[in-house]
Structure formats: structure tokens, C-alpha cells
Subunit: 181 residues, 2 copies
């Protein structure tokens, strides 16, 4: 079965965006700014990306208006808006859990859970995220959009740690994964 992988960055105090939704603080401490981190390797392990509408909208309106940043991946955007899907981007009004459950049973490689927090926490409550790849940014934001709000506890096993430029990438899997359906 395909794995759903949360690959995301948070501040040391657990925020993925500041209070106005901004992500300009997603930088290291300047000690090794040329290091590419795990992204080039990670992106080879996934062929699908799942994201919420606000995350999608922020990407296309602010971060990269010209080109779809996840070109080459099959992209799913969760929204109740009636938007025309393209070959690259499918807009769907399925719940995150329904979509990801279905995708896991399709053939393919990893499924990147890209955010935002609502999508992530609905999937956490359903225990549908298999791996966690969390980049801890060397800053305390003091407020914003929290990554973890799900109330379901879960134990993890550490798979690897990578650090560069003050950023620490923590990679975990579920310690007691549920049996595949």
C-alpha cells in the first residue's frame, strides 16, 4: 500500500505559518545556507501531492504565480469550490480521509501531504499519515497556525535526523502502524 507522508516545516514552537499566514520565516540560521536539505531526495519518493485550498491559493497567488510548483506530480486540491480540474491539478470536494484512503489503494509511489493544518489534522485523527518529515525551523514565532491540533495520541519511531543551516529535519513513522485494510 502507498504511504502518505507529511513533509512540512514548523517553528520550534509548532507553527507552520505566522499570524497573517506568512511563511517568510521559513529560513535557517544562515550557518549553511547552500545545503539543499532532504527535498531533492524526498521528491523522488512521491508522485502525488495533496493540499488544502488555502495552501494552493497561497502558492499560486503569492509564492509562484507563473508555474505550478509541483509540476510532475499529480496534485489534489481539497475544496468545496467548483473549479475546473486540469491534467495536473484535480480539485475535489472529498474529505481528506476519503481522498487519501482511496489514493493509498491506488498504484503509485508516495503521497505527499503538503498542508495546511486542517488537512493534516483530519488525516491525523484518522491515523492516515504513515510518515512524518518535519523540518524544525530555528525560530520561536510566538503565534500563528499550529501544525498539530489533532487530539489523537500516537507514538512514533525515529527514522532519521538531518540538520543543515540551523534547520533540523526529523523523520518518523508510526510506532505501531495499524494493519493495512
Amino acid at each position: 500500500m502507498r504511504k502518505a507522508i507529511l513533509y512540512i516545516a514548523m517553528s520550534l514552537d509548532g507553527y507552520i505559518a505566522d499570524q497573517s499566514g506568512g511563511v517568510s520565516w521559513l529560513v535557517g540560521d544562515g550557518s549553511d545556507s547552500g545545503h539543499p536539505g532532504s527535498y531533492p531526495d524526498f521528491i523522488q519518493t512521491v508522485d502525488t501531492v495533496v493540499l488544502g485550498y488555502r495552501t494552493y491559493h497561497q502558492i499560486v497567488s503569492e509564492l509562484s504565480p507563473e508555474n505550478w510548483v509541483y509540476h510532475g506530480l499529480k496534485s489534489y486540491v481539497l475544496t468545496h469550490r467548483k473549479l475546473a480540474s486540469t491534467e495536473e491539478i484535480s480539485f475535489t470536494d472529498q474529505s481528506p480521509a476519503d481522498l487519501v484512503s482511496k489514493l493509498k489503494n491506488d498504484s503509485g509511489s508516495g503521497i505527499w501531504i503538503c498542508g495546511g493544518a486542517d488537512v493534516v489534522n483530519q488525516l491525523l485523527e484518522s491515523r492516515l499519515i504513515d510518515e512524518f518529515f518535519i523540518s524544525v525551523i530555528p525560530t520561536v514565532l510566538g503565534g500563528g497556525v499550529r501544525l498539530f491540533t489533532a487530539e489523537r495520541p500516537m507514538d512514533l519511531s525515529l527514522l532519521s535526523v538531518l540538520h543543515y543551516n540551523g534547520i533540523v529535519e526529523l523523520r518518523y513513522c508510526l510506532r505501531n502502524p495499524p494493519n493495512p485494510v
Copy 2:
């Protein structure tokens, strides 16, 4: 000037105690349970420990009723209760900021800020913590006592990373420390 060092453990979702104040989840993933972590080295760098009354009370009533766990350190317990200090333990009704500011100007080695969250966040708001030694426990608790609630942002520099038994110890200093007073 002496440094105030936060040395504490939190869950991946940022809690230092569960919803009933419990800390039984402060364990690794079992992959390397004999590793001592950084504690033996850390404890050599401090001669003083500062903690709130609830943390103190939990230690003496539940965790180690027989012996004071920080024997050999000068201990300060912040409380408005009128309790008789001993040679080892001083009970004080000073604010965390007043106490730690004063201690920093005394002679000695490092000052361990041990918790709980109220003490930590009052010191964060006053920017009085110089180093952060945070052990990330491989679990998502889903609720409890949050480590970071201070609203004051601060940028950090990563000093080191150590991992063992699924626990990742992140060590930071303030990126732009204020000038010493």
C-alpha cells in the same frame, strides 16, 4: 555573565506534560534505551536549578519522595507559599525574571531553567533564557501543558543535535543575544 539554560523535554506536538500533568510518556521509542543522552554532560555545566512550585511538588510527591533529585545544585523554587528554605532549596516569592536576572549577575556556572511552562514563558517574554536544550520525545500527545505560550518571537541558532532511542535533543542559543546589562 552566567547563562540561563532551558533543559526540558517536549512531545513532537509541543507538550511537556499530559492533560493530567503526567510525564510517563517521557520515554524513547525503545531503539537504544541504554543511551544516557546529554544529561550527564549537561549537569556538569550548571550549579543552580530554578523551578516552579508545581514542578517541585510533582518531584517530591511522585517522582522522587526520598531524595531531592537535584542534590548538589542550589535549587530555587518559585512560590508565594511561605515555606522554610533549607541549605539546598530556597523558596522564593520573587518573579522568575527578578530571580533569574539577579542570579545571572552572581558568580557561578550555568542556571538550569527546569520548568514548568509558566516559569519558562515568563522568562521567554523577558528574553532571559540564553540557551535552549529541548529533547523531542517521539510521540504526539494530542493535548496537555504546552511548552511555548510566550508571544515574543525570537530567532535561534542551532548549536548541536544529538539523537538516541528515538529522542532528538535540539540545542540552540539566541541568534541575536541582547547586550549584557
